[in-house]
Symmetry: C2
Subunit: 370 residues, 2 copies
Amino acid sequence: MSWIDATYHVRSTAAAIEGRAQALAVEQSIEMPVAAVRDAWIRDEVLGRVIAVEPLAGDLYRVRIGLAAATVGADAGQLLNMLYGNSSLHDDVTLEDFTLPPETEAALGHGPRIGLADLRRRVDAGRRALTCSALKPQGLPPAGLAELAGAFAQGGIDYIKDDHGLAEQAYSPFAARIAACAAAVRSAAGISGHATRYAPSLSGSLDAARTQLNLMREEGLDTAVVAPMILGVSNVQLLARDYPDIAFLAHPSLAGAARIAPYCLAKLLRLIGMDGLIFPNHGGRFGYSEQTCLGIADAARAPWAGHAPAVPIPAGGMSVERVPEMLDFYGDDVMLLIGGNLLAEGARLSAATAAFVETVARYSGTKADG
Amino acid sequence: MSWIDATYHVRSTAAAIEGRAQALAVEQSIEMPVAAVRDAWIRDEVLGRVIAVEPLAGDLYRVRIGLAAATVGADAGQLLNMLYGNSSLHDDVTLEDFTLPPETEAALGHGPRIGLADLRRRVDAGRRALTCSALKPQGLPPAGLAELAGAFAQGGIDYIKDDHGLAEQAYSPFAARIAACAAAVRSAAGISGHATRYAPSLSGSLDAARTQLNLMREEGLDTAVVAPMILGVSNVQLLARDYPDIAFLAHPSLAGAARIAPYCLAKLLRLIGMDGLIFPNHGGRFGYSEQTCLGIADAARAPWAGHAPAVPIPAGGMSVERVPEMLDFYGDDVMLLIGGNLLAEGARLSAATAAFVETVARYSGTKADG
């Protein structure tokens, strides 16, 4: 039998931690009193087992649990269920990491199909960092969003995404919005000569997401933003498989709520086929540390046999002034997402975007395409 | 324009809380610098607004924010996105409650279609509390699970659910499992004369869940367990609408302690059509307080115009000895879920189940059916 290695952080005491770790192993496997299990095979091959307990600082412990891979199958939602479903309800436990045996990993996914490499190739970016902005605020009608999209594209940006709040609202229904924005980007890109991509935000059920993806294909769009913790990782896993031509950029909406370490979630999302991982950058509106951000970037792009790199997409309170600092911090294998800072330029949006693009080109990789 | 009233708990200081509340209102609406918004309609009708800030104990504040209902539409996932999507990434904020204007509420759902009333009627339970147990441990083959199901049914229990970990595993594939368990329950119910219901656990994508529901209907099954925070609330919303004959019991897997208040999530799940809400009982394996548990029960069944009561289903470390205490605590409008405590009886499972059933009948409502 093969085993999943799951790592948790547990708040406990020296006296209680062994029992707590054992309870965690039971909760994330058979979920009943061990003494009541009559089947020896289940006790030997299904019951979770404590691999290691290690004190960290203060009252925190790192606990490694072996979980039977047979309980997981090929479904990403079931992986989260068995790794952390019930234990997410305990406020003394967080899920920090997991390692899968080869057959489970292969069953769950093969990593990004587009990934960093093709996200670059699609916009002729050579080896440099990629640039991205966002269409905001919501409330704008399709024509208003299209105007912004056109301005960003005139500035030569690589990717333009919907604000993740854009969904199916009366003031900006999906079909009308993507038609208007796609047209504006095509038109501006025709003038700028740069192959800017527009990435709508998917929302609703799996059915709705498919409808939206099909509409996207009709508009010649090939990049989508999705929120896996809202849509459900099982559905995201399926979409990545069924739409291999689409680059999926994962947005972290609701990801904080379940207390799964960002590095850990990023790893799962890359495995099941997310091509880009949006996350809150350090020093912006959110409280992620530099260490957490590097961890996410690592999960996205560090070498992983059989799994192409995804692109980390730090966002949230970024500015053009910080571009050199960010490129020093992340290197070139990154997509920098700057939203509000550019939009604050108002009528100067294209020029501000061009300055962003030019700064990245100057500091990152080579200027030459391809 | 109409407004959603969202309540958060925020850790802050007296000096910082006003700014923090304003930032929260912006984050959960336009998500960009307000000064950069040129459209007056958006500033007036879309930008979130701070309604009230109230100090609680210590460094905790209750903050009420008005969010424009127009940003939400009819999708439950979008509601979570706008209520808490980005702010879930801030560790100083939890989502505590929400109130929807009538048209948004009506667009999102109409409450349980089966609910407490029909869950009782289906098993001829009169006005008494309902009884439930769970098929465990995972690892058992269909025949083993069926044997347990038959034993529970012989004891006269009302509902038997799959352990939430049962999915599509090689040792117990869904179709074979439900066929075996449904047959065992039918057979035992034919002898006991009690209309025991077996409730399989749905897993995987929305597509997979539909396949499972269709298989269930072929087996004459009409109750299903689902994990909304894994499958995604948008998909659960759709299933409840598309399968109005199925009673959906929501399992809290991945619901995550303390970031979205359990009361708040329970309210949303009832609205979108969950008929039963499983949650960790106080004094069991989990750390929920009595107050939290009463809050969940309230969210499930308190009067809500146009929305039938769902049944609260406390679970986790319950025992037959605690039945009188639990019925004193929750009253009769409850489904008591006892798993491990019954399974620990081994070969005496039917007798132990009968004792559970008899204790509930004796302490709860009237013994007469109907």
